[in-house]
Symmetry: C2
Subunit: 334 residues, 2 copies
């Protein structure tokens, strides 16, 4: 079967079947934000690897070398946040095309390293090679956690919380795609930092260690609805999202006004937000919101968990919404 | 400066300068076979990331999907062996071209996973994406070690030992390149397994834990002389290799006869051998050889360490040899 037909998630499902249940040091394998390993220490070791390919994950017309590195680091660090962990080190495989200027590579590494260091994780190694064409990155982050946050632990009656605001990344993408911003530097300030240096929610992960038990969690990289679907599937529960509750980014709403677009679908399906979606018992909700506030992160209640399967989004009148698109599939025909 | 001019190692040196001294959890960063991290456990965590790009690191005409996966796993695991460690888990970023059959991707993963499992490390996660063209892999291996083997601890009067035999990978490459073998399956048996599933020297690493102190070590991926140069540079010593002592692979010698070539340069500069080069005090040499023998690995004394800098290769008459090439540089014009 051709990959476009099987799709990214179909392919991953086949790989997961082939690999079977986690064994040896692997506690949680394929199917979460990062792998969870039990090594000799008291904590679990977390490892994630994230690819960033020119033309697929980023465009050089939109981002400087430093911004490409920053964005790649943020995205990979976000996977450690989604497991409730702390980052320890970053490794980088970097492929550059023939004839590239070395300064481009150095600036890219500088951007990545600056972001990593700001989270106490420095660049610890990697690999370099020449590509046939285009820039290719693979960013590895190693972290640690005492109680990993999994996608598989949501239970009926849990509430859904999301960090920060949504829709900003999609609005930035829309402005760039439509040519209304020539590159990231030309974006409105609030969208610019969101796009070039999104904040991995590592501080939030640390703040929520105070909770009596770890939440179910995922980072929003493929779009809220699709990522909610991963929690629903892995936890075998139904997730209901109330669209009027979504913390739509003000900058997103503003960008949407101009092309006469509704910001809510952006907040529901826009990828690369790097906010966290959490499911936890209602008894801990106030504490979670208060702990998050201490580190300057807003948590908003956007829905709930119930028995069943799948994700439903309710409009303001309580009726289920039709969604404009399912999210992102890397093997789909673009 | 263009990358071809700066070269792979020039670029890595600039990145290392930019990153500075290891800090935080990073004990040994850029410049060894794997990063060494101090986490909460008693052991060190090792992490390595290795890229494999079609047309650069492998050719699809020569290898089946399964063989590509096996070879990539072996190469990445070899970095953990070179640090004296045990493998714990493998992660894979895999990029496949549009229109590829899903079975190709699955067979590749199967090959990688089979090799990883044979070393008690299973596939724990990764990333998938579509490439503009060609197959791209990045293999991450996480390991553990109590006493890491570094490149920087060779001292004057140490002896140099190499595991296994050398030249087999170069001979296989020569037979394929010259068209005398259409693909890996058409290689002579001894070269075939060497090329498709080289043995990462993980068993040797475990056997040599018995030594009173860890050796300096590197795996031979860029060619013996070039990799010896990395030990010389990081340890600030001179390495002398005696060419007549090299354990030239019999299959390599046989392959060399036909095109009337001398196998010694292949053994000196051929890459992707995945044997280990070790430097250790002469007092431990016999013990090292005996421990290696217990796990079926031959260790051969091929030279010594002295004060000074760089690598010298001595011919059978004791005169320094001129080397046909320096080794492999990924940014060099091919």
């Amino acid at each position: 079967m051709r990959l476009e037909k099987l799709g990214e998630f179909g392919f991953i499902a086949r790989v997961a079947e082939l690999v079977g249940e986690p064994e040896g040091a692997v506690v949680e394998g394929i199917g979460d934000d990062a792998a969870v390993l039990k090594t000799s220490g008291d904590c679990y070791v977390l490892v994630t690897t994230d690819a960033f390919v020119e033309g697929r994950h980023f465009r050089r017309e939109w981002l400087s070398a430093e911004q490409i590195g920053m964005r790649a680091a943020c995205a990979a660090l976000s996977d450690i946040a989604a497991m409730g962990g702390e980052a320890r080190a970053v490794l980088l495989s970097v492929g550059l095309p023939p004839g590239e200027d070395a300064a481009f590579g150095e600036q890219l590494v500088r951007g990545l390293h600056d972001v990593a260091r700001s989270w106490d994780a420095s660049l610890a190694g990697g690999d370099t090679f020449a590509t046939p064409a285009g820039v290719w990155l693979d960013v590895v982050v190693v972290g640690e956690v005492d109680r990993p946050w999994l996608r598989s632990t949501a239970r009926p009656d849990d509430i859904l919380l999301v960090s920060g605001t949504l829709g900003g990344a999609a609005a930035a993408f829309h402005l760039l795609e439509s040519g209304r911003a020539a590159n990231a530097d030309a974006l409105p300030a609030a969208l610019r930092s969101r796009f070039t240096r999104p904040t991995p929610q590592l501080a939030l992960a640390q703040a929520l260690r105070q909770l009596p038990e770890p939440p179910a969690a995922i980072d929003i990289s493929d779009g809220l609805v699709q990522d909610a679907g991963h929690i629903a599937e892995r936890s075998a529960v139904a997730l209901t999202i109330e669209a009027p509750c979504l913390p739509v980014s003000p900058a997103c709403a503003e960008a949407a006004v101009q092309p006469d677009a509704d910001p809510v679908p952006w907040a529901l399906t826009g990828g690369e937000e790097y906010e966290l979606l959490l499911a936890l018992p209602p008894a801990y909700a106030d504490q979670a919101v208060a702990e998050a506030q201490k580190v300057g992160v807003m948590l908003t209640r956007i829905g709930s968990v119930s028995k069943g399967l799948g994700v439903t989004v309710l409009a303001s009148d309580g009726s289920p919404m039709e969604l404009p698109q399912g999210g992102w599939d890397h093997f789909a025909v673009q």
